[in-house]
Each structure stands twice: as C-alpha cells, then as structure tokens.
C-alpha cells in the first residue's frame, strides 16, 4: 500500500498582500514538506520578511491561503506551533535567559516550572551556552543572544522554525557560531524557512532556494541549480551583486 502524501508543514497558495495601494506580495505559492529546509533570498524590499511574518501570523494577508500543518491561519492552532527567530533577537531584557526560555512553556502551555526549566537547560546546552542561564540578555554577546533566541523558540517545540536574517545584525566573528547551531538543527530534521544571504549556509543545508524580487517568487530550485545556473536575469544580477565581494 502506498503511503498517503504527508501533510505539508507549510502551504501557501496564491497569497496576495497589500499595504494600502502597495502590492507587497504577489501570488506567492510555496510548499514546505516536514523536515524540509527552505532558504529565501532576494534584494531589499522584495517581501522576504513579509512572507515569513505572514506564516508566523504577525501579518495578515488579503487573498490566498496559508496553511500550517494542515490548518488555516484563521483556525485555532496550538500555541507556539510556528517559532520565529528575528534579526534583532527580540529577547525580553527584563528577564533572565532561563526566564526568557520558560515564559512560553509556562504561560502558554501551562507546563510546570520544574519541567520547563529542565527543558530550557536542555536547549541551552544544545545551543552551547549552558552556563548563561542566570544572566540577562544585555550581558551576552550578539551571537550568544541570537542562540538564546533560537533556544527560546525550540522550547516551544515548534513544528516549523522561521528565521528572518538571523545573522544580519551580528559582527562577522559571531555569524559562524549561530550558523553552526542552525546547521545542526537542520541536520536533526527541523523544518526551517530561513531568510538569509549566507550562501554558504544555503548551499550546505537548503533543499530549496527561493529567489524573490518585487513581491514575487521569481525563481526557485535546489541550491546547486539556482546558484550555478540561474535562469532569470534578475536572479543572475542579484547573485553577481552579493557574490562579488
């Protein structure tokens, strides 16, 4: 008996979004299978953040369907089903690292404190900062803060983890420590959608690279295909600009 096709982790079909008159997303269709890693790239203002923010329910769209793990955005969903890592970390500065990690599990999931803390310590170890649990975010380096933010998302054990330029706010020497953690997550089978210009990362982990421009998906394919032999002029232009230096 053949297996039923798995429910996609994310399914976007004909998604359109406007800010007033400005058509920011034009007919976006994207399908992400469980365990798949998708990298989104494209020039500034092309709508990359808007795509992931729509999936995370931080923005609404006007036309089309977005489904996460089979249910639409209008339907109730388990809290923290979609995790998100922001460019600016957005850690809670008034809480300790441990409290940052346990807030969601305790408040949104009703988990017992002891259990939530055990889980938090486990994920802190996974992002390789087990010793920082009692510090405040402000006392950590940028790279450490971003790893805490990743651990904070992981504590909700999300079905999908979204990243919006997670290394763009980091000093060059800290980028690798964050990317290493993300590569490990990918290898463990986490479903990920990553907006990034880190082409090395894309080559290494992406199953699918999506190139956006002007609110549209202009081209998509496996990293080798898209990077070595872009089909469209727009994509070629963009790649030559970011790979020049």
């Amino acid at each position: 008996m053949p297996d039923a096709p798995p429910v996609p982790a994310i399914e976007m079909a004909g998604v359109n979004k406007w800010y007033g008159d400005f058509h920011v997303l034009k007919d976006i269709s994207l399908r992400v299978a469980p365990g798949e890693r998708v990298v989104i790239c494209g020039p500034s203002g092309s709508g990359k953040s808007t795509v992931v923010r729509c999936i995370a329910r931080l923005e609404t769209h006007q036309k089309g369907v977005i489904r996460v793990a089979g249910h639409g955005l209008a339907e109730a969903a388990p809290a923290g089903e979609v995790g998100m890592v922001f460019q600016q970390f957005n850690l809670f500065p008034h809480l300790t690292v441990l409290q940052n990690l346990t807030l969601g599990p305790i408040r949104a999931r009703g988990m017992a404190r002891a259990e939530a803390e055990a889980r938090a310590h486990r994920y802190l170890a996974r992002v390789r900062i087990p010793e920082q649990a009692d510090k405040r975010p402000g006392q950590l380096s940028g790279g450490q803060q971003q790893r805490v933010a990743i651990a904070r998302s992981l504590c909700m054990e999300p079905k999908v983890l979204l990243f919006d330029e997670p290394t763009s706010a980091l000093d060059p020497e800290m980028i690798a420590e964050v990317l290493d953690v993300m590569i490990e997550l990918a290898e463990e089978g986490m479903t990920m959608v990553v907006v990034t210009h880190e082409m090395g990362f894309a080559r290494r982990v992406a199953d699918q690279v999506v190139f956006m421009d002007g609110g549209e998906i202009v081209e998509r394919g496996a990293p080798a295909e898209l990077f070595e032999a872009p089909k469209t002029a727009r994509c070629r232009d963009f790649l030559s600009r970011i790979l020049r230096h």
Binding site: G80, V82, N90, P93, L103, A108, Q139, S153
Partner: protein
Amino acid sequence: MSRVFGIVALLALAGCASSQNWGWYVIDPRTPNGWTNVRFLVGGMGATILLSVVAAVLSMALGLLVALPGFSAHRPLRLLNRGYVEFVRAIPLLPMLFWVFYGLPIVFRSMGLSVQIDPFWGAVLTLAISDSAFTAEIYRSGIQSIGRGQSEAAQTVGLTHWQTMRHVVLPQAVRRILPPLGNQFIYIVKMSSFASVIGMQELTRRANELVVTEYRPLEIYTLLIFEYLVLVLVISSAVRWLERRMGADERNG
C-alpha cells in the same frame, strides 16, 4: 473668607517691600514666639504630605483608567481618551478647584443628592483629576516606548495579548513610567498649595494665616519656600534612587 486671606497677604507683601527691613525674629526658634510660629508653620507638613500622597495615588489609578481606552482598537474609545486628556489638561488648577469645591455640591443637589465636599477631598479630587491627564500620557508613552518586536516575540512563543501585556510589556514600561511619575508627584506637592484657598490647613494656608497676624510676609513665605524645597528634595532623591536601582537592574540583574 479664604480669598480675603490671600488678598491681605499680598497687600502685606507689598507693604513690606517698601519698609525694607527684615524681621526674622518672627520665625526665630530661639525666641518663644518665633518657636511657636515655626511649629505652627511646620505643623502643616502632615496635611500637605497626606493631601499630595492621596491625590497622587488617585491620579495614578485614574490615569490608568484614562490611558487604557487609548490603546483600544475602537476609535470612539481612543477619542474618549484624547478628549479627556486634552480637556482636563487645559483647565487651570484654580478654577477647577473652585468648580469642584463650590460647584460639585450644587450639581449634586440639583440631582437630588446631598453630597458635602470638605476642603481635603475637594483639594484631593481637583489635584487627582488635573494630574490624571498627565499620568495618562505618561502611561501611554511608556507603553508605546516598548518596541513592537517585544510583543511579536511574545506572540511567537504563544502568549495571548493580555499575557504579553502582563509579562512582557508592562514590566518593561514600568521602568520608564516611574521616573516621570516621580516628577508628577513633585508637581502635585507644589500644586497642593492651592488647597489653601478653600481653607485646607496645609503649609501655605498656615503661612497665610500667620502673615495676617504677624504682618511679616517676606520672612514667613521664605520659610514656606524652604519647607516645600525640603519636601521636593526628599522626593527627587527618592526618584533618582529608584532610577539608579532600575538602571542597575536592567544591566546586570
């Protein structure tokens, strides 16, 4: 009656300016009369503090009630907030005080209610209402100063709107709200001197009364200024201590 005191005090001050000699004996604690006078004047401190504290607490509560509709998604509620703030903020304290103290009982009587407003509550209500427009604005700007990224992060770890307010936004906003609230408290302490005109026995009222009997306004009002100065210095150092503590908190927990 109370207005008569004010006018007499002003005339006395004018008269004194032309006489051009000091009479500090009137508040010299080494003389029996001076000591009695000083104790009488400082004796208003309790009333000024009580008046200011009760008014400040009421203003903080009222300000929150006024600020909350300002965050509503419903336009009429936001307009209610704006209307209150703009209107109340525009009323000078003295006419508002007369209106509350003399006017409110008449309003209540015309509604068939007999409500007495004594000088203390008249002054408390006036100060609290007048100040609430400012505390409401302090709450608003404090809450708005917490970036959207904080609420978004809270939302992605599953918190509801209310949980986000309670655990993420408000705890951070409080740190930005407390220092300006401290400044407002200083403002209330000074404005409480207006309570003297409706007969509330606080610092300024006592000074006015003593001026009428002693005819030494310059010396007595000088002491009065120092009484307020002491109060304000105590409050502002408390506020700065709070600020330092919270700043330190934010940096290293």
